[in-house]
Symmetry: C2
Subunit: 238 residues, 2 copies
């Protein structure tokens, strides 16, 4: 996925530290090691460490003050919509619980986005939705077509067509959620067509301006994934 070799030192350091923090390597009371200690530990200069600290501060994970050292911020303050933070979180604890929270969020956002797209999505944006939906149908017939990417494009293009920058901003969030979902819920081969058709229906509702219908169909689509996850949770807790 991410090519760490290509990144510069401070970015790699940011990633290392971020991962460690999210994974709970450091405690809130003890805080982080001092800059000097981090320099030694990773064999890099203070500049690189400081820039990593600044990055993580910007993401809400830590704060640093003179004489006090580098302190952990409570998890509530972490910027969860930051792609990196999200990735670290999932790498460290890919639990079903997080997955459920993802779906709850999508259940709030995506139906609303679909409704907005139906109300005033411009032609180009709506066409992109159709494209993606068509590709999902193709994938059902031809295994060579990438279903995953088509699915992802479908959901992303709806967020874009909503015309609301805050919704569209959540594309990485939704992408990540979908990616993680796939790992847990491999759809049965026969269901692919049925799923693709459900997606296409949403596109048709949007194109024809049926906001309520688009919203309901989208709710239903995500609800099915939710039901699946809840069954999984049931299973593991027993």
């Amino acid at each position: 996925m991410v090519r760490f070799e290509k990144q510069n030192l401070s970015q790699r350091m940011t990633d290392e530290l971020g991962k460690a923090i999210v994974a709970g390597k450091y405690s809130a009371e003890a805080g982080l090691p001092t800059e000097a200690m981090l320099c030694e530990e990773y064999g890099i200069s203070r500049t690189a460490v400081r820039e990593a600290v600044k990055m993580l501060s910007a993401k809400g994970l830590i704060s640093s003050r003179p004489r006090q050292g580098i302190r952990l911020e409570p998890a509530e303050k972490w910027n969860m919509y930051d792609t990196s933070v999200l990735r670290w979180l999932l790498e460290s604890s890919p639990s079903l619980r997080v997955l459920k929270e993802f779906l709850q969020m999508r259940l709030a956002i995506e139906p609303q986005a679909a409704a907005l797209a139906a109300q005033h999505g411009d032609a180009v944006a709506v066409d992109a939705i159709g494209d993606a939906a068509q590709r999902m149908l193709d994938a059902a017939a031809d295994p060579a077509v990438d279903l995953m990417t088509a699915d992802l494009d479908f959901h992303t293009s709806i967020l874009r067509a909503s015309g609301n920058r805050f919704f569209f901003q959540l594309r990485d969030f939704v992408s990540t959620a979908l990616n993680v979902s796939i790992q847990h819920t491999t759809p049965a081969k026969g269901n692919v067509l049925s799923i693709a058709q459900d997606h296409y229906k949403i596109y048709e509702a949007i194109r024809s301006g049926q906001a309520e219908r688009a919203k309901n169909l989208m709710t239903h689509l995500i609800d099915e994934a939710m039901v699946f996850i809840e069954k999984e949770i049931e299973k593991t807790s027993n």
Copy 2:
């Protein structure tokens, strides 16, 4: 609000640069001045400039590469859920359009959060909602009680009671939206009681576990603000 004097140099620099970028001071083609030029312009060391650049990179506003300088990232990549970015955006263009997008977002999130709170909000969290709602009622009778803060607490505590960290994470977003809203929509004195009662009804629905009712009431509450904004937009466009 924010005490810039108390902030350190790189944070102030981050704020200056961030504001300038969001306000459109720099063009995408030309990019930003080089580090050296920024040092001269603001009369500070390269370290401070670099740390500001790192912060803004972390927020998705810029990227920097050797020989290429500091480039602006497209607005789509900006982390809009970052409190600073949001603040810069509102300071530079406090338009009704942004306000409407805020409300569309709240319309997606808050009703769902209210439903979740009704389903499995723990007692302490739900009590906090009741507290805030009661304070809003008090404010209707006694002008000394801070209505604004109570209103804010009400919405924030519902996000918390949803038990979903992604919803709760949006508390700053909702706070900002409310703050901006207030500036545009000063409620008539007589309406305060009516509004407070609407809020209290939502609390009652949540406490008694009526998820659907809580959701509908919340939708209605935000919808009213939306209607108001749309009238304002109508007015200004004429």
